[in-house]
Amino acid sequence: MKSRIPHFSLLTVAAAAMTFAASPAWAQLKLGFNVPLTGFAAADGKSSLEGAKLAVEQANAKGGVAGQKIELVVYDDQATPKEAVPSATKMVEKDQVIAAVSGSYSGSTRAAAVIFQRAQVPYVVAYAIHPDITLAGDYMFRVSAMGEVQGRGGAKLAQNLGKKKVVLVTLKNDFGQALAAGFKEAAPKLGINIINEYEYGMPDRQFGPLVSKIKSDNPDVIYASGYFFTAGPLVSQLRAAGVTAPIIGQEGYDSDKFIEIAGPASEGTYITTSLDRDSDAPATKAFLADYRKATNSGADMVAAASFTATAVAIEGLKKTGGKGGAALRDAIAAGSYDMPIGKLEFNDLHEVKKDIQVQIVKDKTFRRHSVISDPVLLAPPTKAK
């Protein structure tokens, strides 16, 4: 009754061969990079990798650091802690990276942070916003605003737009929750009344029930957290059901794909981000042009943040002449940087205090709307807290 199993020793031989493949290592300045190339976060991973590669290519074009070329050692962590731990350990031990950059989400970055801190390898985080990351230790740096800070920025924007009744639509992951926490913290101080909050999961694309409930709430403004692949459908379904209240999003929306998916419904959507398309700052303009030339697609927030994090690490290496460890940590901490996402300076918790760029979608592209720079409201947490 057992089916005849054909002779298949080929399968066992193939499995054995896999185990011995190893990557050759040359004497170069190795910069580690963990990024989700597969799994649910692969879309952001792709942009993040492009941004980091661009920064390394530009640096190598200008002669690298102290005569050595910089090599980006890329690991796919599928945005999960289970993959991030072995990747980070391997980067530290086998590849002996001199510094590392995170182009991944919070879950994997938090797990990797502990390992880089213990190995005293400076770790510059692009867009993962969980507070625990910089709390892991003094070798950790973050170039984008934390979730709570962006949330508070969103509340300030709602006040600037003169809106009173707001409905929160929160993506159920740490990014969404941090943004909601920030918004709820600032709203009462700014006279904004949160009439309702709804949650949705990462795989959700159809928001019919949510949209109907929001329509019945009839808010002045909607503060909805998400990424372009959730926000695109959400915004178009809100408009399709006749909800006209303005929608405030965040850096997760910040990609041309959002406009492509939501189509005409995306017109007039506000987002709090740190990449200003109409910026006249040379660094931003140059980055937008170089990125389009390198990938013939528009840059998004994730690419800009990853480019910035990589560039910050490289500038630190330039200052220490290629030396890592504590010297590199102090060099990065002390530096001030003019990057595509704004002028950056690290506070004692190695968080950055920078303004929030408000963009608005006007005839199918992101345009500058305003800048929010309230030093008190947008102050990142410091070590003391």
Binding site: I5, P6, H7, L11, P81, P86, K94, A111, V114
Partner: protein, 296 residues
């Protein structure tokens, strides 16, 4: 933070890999008890690893030492296992897989909403187990060997023989006077308790857990390990779990095609050797080198 002396430091990668392997083997063997020995297909086994992981994390943060959280993790996971076992007894055989899958989604759906379990942010800054990296790995390996030995013992005992009968034909076993429901519950209880243990080790290995790490994908992965190794075959499951758990790390070199190869391997193994590696080894042994034929 004093830098660990360089010599030990370079071994951390292998140590963490070995620990990951030991935990994965423990977890796969625990499912092998339920699905391999007793024939009850579970598509939600990661739930019980999750119960063990969260129990250990909460108790650990409350001050209990790691070794004290271990038995508690096993007891709680085992209890939930019995409850799910009881529920699954009411359901038709071919619905069992889908019911256990439902339990898996319920677990993730409930845990990620509870604030005291850390909600979406999960639980972090779990105190260190205090055994040192090498000591923790050694303990994981010892427990893993213990579970393997227990599995081999059960397989040779009368319980193993009854499980094998239930897996093939429940009705015949009832006619032989076997209390089939109680045996199924015993398999569920033991399997889920051991899964809880692997969960406790998982927590202290990664010292950060979230509800997403015990979802449907993980339940499918561990079931694939058992089936890939050869359902019911203890050595087969051990090898498959060890290999597949660190495959992503080895496959870094293929990078982009990692999951494609993993899915392809699963399909090809099932298509050409349904009894997994154990079946393959048996087939190769019985024809090529031992023409007298081992067990056909």
């Amino acid at each position: 933070m004093p830098a660990a002396d360089p010599e030990v430091q370079t071994m951390n990668y292998e140590i963490s890999l070995l620990t990951t392997m030991a935990i994965a083997v423990m977890f796969a063997l625990s499912l092998n008890l339920i699905t391999g020995f007793c024939g009850q297909i579970s598509l939600g086994h990661a739930t019980f690893q999750g119960v063990g992981a969260y129990t250990a994390a909460m108790l650990g943060k409350a001050g209990l030492p790691f070794l004290a959280t271990l038995p508690m993790a096993m007891v709680l996971a085992g209890l939930l296992g019995v409850v799910v076992g009881l529920a699954s007894l009411r359901v038709r055989a071919d619905f069992l897989a889908i019911t256990t899958m439902g339990v898996g989604f319920l677990f993730v759906g409930i845990v990620r909403q509870q604030e005291f379990l850390g909600g979406e942010l999960g639980i972090s800054s779990i105190p260190d187990h205090g055994l040192g990296r090498v000591g923790f790995m050694a303990l994981a390996l010892v427990m893993c060997i213990g579970v393997a030995a227990l599995s081999m013992y059960i397989k040779r005992s009368w319980m193993g023989r009854v499980f094998n009968g239930i897996a093939e034909d429940e009705d015949t076993m009832r006619v032989l006077g076997i209390d089939v429901p109680r045996y199924k519950l015993a398999a569920f209880a033991m399997g889920t308790a051991l899964a809880g243990m692997s969960g406790a080790f998982y927590t202290y290995h990664l010292n950060f857990i979230g509800a997403e790490s015990f979802g449907f994908v993980e339940s499918i992965t561990v079931l694939s390990m058992v089936v890939f190794g050869g359902i019911g075959s203890v050595p087969g499951v051990i090898i498959a779990a060890a290999l597949l758990s660190v495959l992503p790390a080895w496959f870094q070199v293929i990078g982009d095609y990692k999951l494609l190869v993993y899915g392809g391997l699963l399909f090809l193994m099932m298509r050409f050797s349904p009894n997994g590696m154990a079946g393959l080894a048996q087939h190769v042994a019985s024809t090529k080198w031992f023409p007298t034929g081992g067990r056909s």
